[in-house]
């Protein structure tokens, strides 16, 4: 095996790892968007979850508790957002922005004492037998369990949305809340549940960033991943499997910069760092230019408030 081949295996592994962060967050956002709610607070929830997860992992020494803390933090913030937009009929864009701005400030504020902290040695996970396979082992089978969890989550969510009754109800709430309400479904509670689930998954993604992906705490360390995850749901036309593929693609674009630098490409690092952001814009342009295609796939009531009995 040549060193070149080996570096490609590492690039694939790193892309999957980076993509997992985006995938988990975007799957969460997909749930609440399928119920008709856009939460622009993803970035803020991920930041607060990142510091909550990191701090918990530092104090307890347990990564799993760190992930849970991140999920709770994300879920709580999403619940506050949900109360505002679902019960108080606040503009969803404005409330989501408020959540992101608050999360940015709040995480920086509570995280100030953790910038020097370090986590213990990071665990290594090798799948028995598979990890030892030449090339494929290094590319696919030495990942953190959360990477596989993201794949399982994608399958589970696809099954839930298209093959289960609660999933059908969730989609109905996002397509036509009036009809779902007329059928006797508690539209607002379902929407809140979807928003909290979305927040919890964004929280898991945020905690994964600070506990495993880059195990430390730096102010603003999510660096736009929440916003990219939001773009991903549109890019994936609200389909779980496409979210996962899109996330890996973005993971690849993110990792490409390090690969290119490793190959000695003579471009300033700042331009390589722009790649994920520029790729997001390019992808948005490509997918959105066909407006009727987007409209056909978008949950029909996305972003519109529902106020029963008004």
């Amino acid at each position: 095996m040549t060193a070149d081949m080996e570096s490609y295996a590492l690039l694939i592994a790193a892309s999957m790892n980076a993509g997992t962060v985006l995938a988990i967050a975007a799957l969460g956002l997909l749930i609440n968007e399928r119920a008709g709610i856009v939460n622009l607070g993803a970035e803020g929830m991920m930041l607060v979850a990142a510091i909550a997860g990191f701090a918990t992992a530092v104090h307890t020494g347990s990564d799993v508790l760190g992930f849970l803390a991140g999920m709770v933090a994300g879920g709580l913030m999403a619940a506050a957002f949900g109360l505002l937009v679902i019960w108080l009929n606040t503009n969803q864009y404005a409330a989501g922005l408020a959540l992101s701005l608050f999360g940015t400030g709040f995480s920086a504020f509570v995280g100030i004492g953790y910038t020097q902290e370090k986590l213990g040695p990071r665990p290594h996970f090798d799948l028995p037998f598979l990890a030892d396979l030449p090339w494929v082992g290094g590319a696919f089978f030495r990942q953190h369990p959360i990477v596989y969890l993201a794949i399982a989550l994608t399958a589970a969510l696809a099954w839930f949305l298209y093959r289960s009754r609660p999933g059908l109800v969730l989609r109905a709430v996002g397509e036509s809340p009036e009809s779902a309400h007329a059928l006797g479904y508690p539209v607002r509670r379902i929407r809140l549940a979807a928003v909290v689930a979305g927040g919890a998954l964004c929280g898991l993604a945020g905690a994964y960033v600070s506990v495993i992906y880059t195990p430390l705490w730096v102010e603003g360390m999510i660096a736009g991943k929440g916003w990219i995850a939001l773009a991903l749901t549109t890019f994936a036309t609200w389909r779980p499997a496409r979210v996962l593929l899109g996330a890996y693609l973005f993971g690849f674009v993110t990792m490409l910069q390090f690969h290119l630098q490793g190959q000695g490409v003579q471009v300033a690092s700042q331009f390589l760092s722009m790649l994920p952001y520029l790729a997001t814009i390019v992808v948005l342009v490509l997918i959105s230019s066909n407006a009727s295609f987007i409209r056909a796939n978008m949950p029909a009531s996305l972003g519109k408030p529902f106020f029963p009995g008004s």
Partner: protein, 352 residues
């Protein structure tokens, strides 16, 4: 349980009372936060609400910080009123600072202040406009979501600034620090008083308040913009072009953010560093909403947000609290404002 009941028409009173109510709630939450942190809440509030206004010098600093916030928020108010969600003002601010900074770096011993300063400001406006035009173009031509595009461009602008100050624009005599040369004195935005940092930017901001008031409430174009935001169908019927509104809103707000960036670069900063982006572009979103998207309201909310900034810095130096407490209060203020705004359209009714 309480129930919300739609009002027959929006309450004007609540529209004005809501920001005050939100401020009150933010202050109460702030007191809770100070107590939790074991700090004297009275001292904390003093940092935010008394220190920034206690002397003429303090007021001048307050005005200096409020200037970029007001300038950016004016542009954003036009955007939000026309339902264009430009949240990338931070990026437009940075590009404005880059463009203005570039002009300032071209100054030499022969430069005339009366010429170079207007050039710096014009370059800032042009830079901010150009950056916002990317968003407008992609939205107009390809229907790409302006929220995400304008936000992604913030990161791109920050990286562009980073490349310039670490690379081509780095001061060769700057001990390898990532910073441009210090701009010549001739490029400095003229100050209002000797020894104080406050400059003519304040006058420009006040003039802009008047200009935006006229634009929004006394011109046909401003009227068309707002109809498009409130009732797109009615605007289409009336023949108001939504594309025109999109371009106008984004170019105006981009230009204002760029102007603020140039004023900052050639004003208090005096050079380009990685610390040009100070979050003004994001804070201005809050300023615009708290100011009711009204030019006069924006003066008040801009000053309030400026107090938050100065209070945060004082809380750091005198109480040992992290400066980022400013961001916490900013976020809380917007969040509580949005909650209180419900009372404009609805009233609370007690129901069994």
């Amino acid at each position: 349980m309480f129930k919300l009941e739609a009002r027959p028409q929006p309450s004007r009173l609540m529209s004005l009372a809501s920001p005050l109510l939100a401020l009150l709630m933010t202050v109460l939450l702030g007191i809770v936060l100070f107590v939790l942190l074991g700090k004297d809440p009275a001292r904390g509030l003093q940092m935010f609400f008394w220190e920034p206004i206690k002397s003429a010098y303090a007021l001048s600093e307050l005005a200096l910080k409020a200037t970029p916030l007001v300038l950016i928020a004016l542009g954003l108010a036009v955007c939000f009123r026309s339902n264009v969600w430009n949240i990338g003002a931070e990026g437009q601010f940075v590009v404005g600072a880059l463009a203005g900074g570039w002009v300032a770096m071209q100054a030499d011993a022969q430069s005339v202040r009366g010429l170079i300063v207007p050039l710096i400001l014009l370059a800032g406006v042009a830079g901010g406009m150009a950056w916002a035009a990317v968003t407008a173009l992609l939205r107009d031509r390809f229907n790409a979501n302006e929220i995400l595009v304008s936000l992604m461009l913030v990161y791109v602008a920050d990286l562009l600034l980073g490349w310039l100050v670490y690379g081509p624009w780095k001061d060769p005599n700057g001990y390898n620090f990532p910073q441009s040369i210090t701009f010549l004195a001739v490029t400095k935005i003229p100050r209002l008083f000797d020894g104080w940092r406050v400059n003519i930017g304040v006058l420009i901001a006040l003039g802009a308040v008047g200009a935006f008031w006229v634009l929004l409430f006394r011109t046909y174009a401003g009227f068309a913009l707002q109809v498009g935001g409130l009732a797109p169908a009615a605007a289409r019927y009336a023949g108001f072009s939504s594309r025109r509104a999109l371009w106008m809103a984004l170019l105006l707000s981009g230009g204002m953010a760029g102007l603020a960036g140039a004023l900052e670069a050639a004003g208090p900063l005096g050079q380009l560093t990685p610390y040009v982006p100070a979050g003004y572009g994001f804070a201005a979103i809050i300023v615009a909403f708290v100011g009711r998207l009204h030019p006069l309201g924006i003066i008040f909310s801009g000053v309030l947000m400026s107090m938050f900034y100065i209070g945060g810095e004082l809380a750091q130096s005198r109480l040992g609290l992290p400066k980022s407490i400013t961001g916490v209060f900013q976020g809380l203020l917007l969040f509580t404002l949005l909650a209180c705004d419900t009372l404009i359209l609805y009233r609370l009714r007690w129901k069994k």
